[in-house]
């Protein structure tokens, strides 16, 4: 079960470098063909600092450097029971290869439904640039099936 004592818990702040090779690999894997996601020169010609990160890439940045087990087992995650229930993004600025981003994550709610058969954990993650401007706010809902 997710431990409700973690409601309000903030994970340590993470600093992540947006690496060009990894970003391009992500775009290739999802079948992206638009060159602003693959080619630095095209991206620059279109006004981006470098290759643009697709809309959901910030989610991957939040996973960088730690496994789901490392991050969530302390709050009660059992990996084999995990389902991603919902995911939302609000966008305030783009993320490009070569950027450095600062990520703050916080557990905002833990609750149960169906007499404990479904166990929910809601986490909010804020991605900022090094100037402190917010680029994206992510809200993820994890569900464990018991």
């Amino acid at each position: 079960m997710f431990n409700p004592e973690f409601i309000g818990y903030s994970f340590p702040t993470k600093t992540v470098n947006v690496e060009e090779g990894k970003l391009k690999f992500f775009s290739q894997t999802i079948g992206e063909t638009d060159p602003i996601y693959l080619d630095k020169d095209t991206a620059k010609d279109q006004g981006y600092r470098s290759i643009l990160a697709p809309p959901t890439y910030s989610f991957s940045l939040t996973l960088e450097g730690e496994s789901l087990r490392d991050k969530y087992e302390p709050i009660g995650l059992e990996l084999g029971k995990l389902l991603h229930g919902a995911q939302s993004f609000e966008f305030f600025g783009e993320i490009c290869a070569g950027d450095t981003v600062i990520i703050d994550s916080k557990i905002v709610d833990i609750f149960q439904k169906k007499s404990g058969a479904l166990d929910f954990c809601i986490e909010e993650m804020v991605v900022k640039n090094v100037e402190g401007e917010t680029l994206a706010v992510l809200t993820q809902t994890f569900i464990m099936r018991h």
Partner: protein, 139 residues
């Protein structure tokens, strides 16, 4: 689509769907590495069986990334204000996903004109895998 093409859309209009190649085990392995989600439930059939599943299944975020491609084929990414989904059922290996969008609202704020697009992803059996919405600015 260009801004002027988007501006011609009306509430109730359906967007041209986008269909993706069937999801292979290779895609799941590559997406695990590329996305940083290494949960073995998506790549290791032995692990999947040990927790009562018949097989591995796709990352929800793979479907959301495909739907994101659909969205950025419609609008310049800089104009996407929000994008949300609920993962309504598990996506199996071999699923041929189709991204569907419908304009459901157009509103004006003091700063910009916003269009809400209702989104869904279905497989080849028309089972709904993801449902959600996105808000794009177009004026």
């Amino acid at each position: 689509m260009s801004i002027s093409e988007i501006a011609k859309l009306r509430v109730g209009d359906m967007l041209e769907p986008m269909t993706h190649n069937p999801i292979s085990r290779t895609t799941l392995a590559l997406f695990a590495g590329a996305s940083g989600d290494h949960n073995p439930i998506h790549i290791d059939v032995d692990f999947a069986k040990s927790v009562g599943m018949d097989d591995v299944f796709a990352h929800g975020m793979l479907g959301m990334a495909y739907l994101g491609r659909f969205l950025t084929s419609i609008a310049d990414q800089r104009n996407i204000r929000s994008y949300s989904v609920r993962f309504s059922s598990i996506t199996q290996v071999g699923a041929k996903l189709k991204c569907i969008g419908k304009v459901i609202e157009i509103t004006d704020t003091s700063a910009e004109r916003l269009m809400t697009i209702e989104l869904s992803v279905t497989d080849q059996n028309n089972d709904v895998k993801l449902i959600g919405d996105a808000v794009i600015a177009f004026q």
